[in-house]
Symmetry: C2
Subunit: 136 residues, 2 copies
């Protein structure tokens, strides 16, 4: 499996900062949940463990999605774009993706000249992060 | 409208390079079509003209999607994530999004230890770019 994963990595074009943008999409509904970043190790962990792992730019470390909040993303499939410089994760989101408690991070829509809030929290943020939100 | 657009821009956190990652999604099917980048002017043009405009990093200029190929993206809605550092464009894709002639740029899926091609070209690339593909 390790060699397989290295073959997967060989086709991904990481940027000068070692990162590639990663889109997380709910596999069955098509809902875009969030956008984050992955480095090589984040891809390795995601494929090896079958759950989304990102690189937290704010914390400067690997971030297994849900490690604090419990809102993990089971990885259904990893996809790669034509240039190899963006990846798409089809996931099964456990609970909510956003640290605000909303299902998706993309809850603001430009409508009628303002950013309208189009989704409400499904879980109180303080229930997700009893010790406070640390960026992961 | 100009003032409105400036208000939209005020909530978007552009990176140190002046860019924000942009995801294009077909508005009705949920299909992810591509990922590209926008600077302030690309957002201004997209909102003013109602069609997706990106910043081409390879060409170093604005890129009205479809300006060469005719495969434009009509903008249905612009969405913004919780941190304001990623945008989602809900679009009506005219024809295909990918320069290879495929509907989506994310046509490679990691399956069984290899990158499987999961979509075929719907339009021959040479029909999209009779003078050759220039990155836009």
């Amino acid at each position: 499996m390790k060699n397989q994963i290295e073959r997967a990595l060989a086709e991904i074009s990481f940027g000068a900062d070692g990162l590639v943008p990663a889109i997380a999409q709910q596999h069955d509904t098509g809902e875009i949940l969030m956008m984050a970043w992955m480095n090589r190790d984040a891809v390795r962990v995601s494929l090896a463990e079958g759950r989304a792992c990102y690189w937290s730019r704010s914390r400067g470390r690997l971030w297994r999605k849900g490690e604090t909040s419990g809102q993990t993303q089971l990885l259904h499939e990893l996809r790669l774009d034509c240039d190899g410089d963006a990846v798409l994760l089809l996931v099964e989101q456990q609970g909510v993706a956003c640290h605000t408690g909303r299902r998706t991070c993309f809850f603001r829509a430009w409508r009628g000249g303002e950013w309208a809030i189009i989704a409400e929290p499904e879980i109180p943020p303080e229930a997700l992060y009893p010790k406070g939100f640390d960026g992961t």
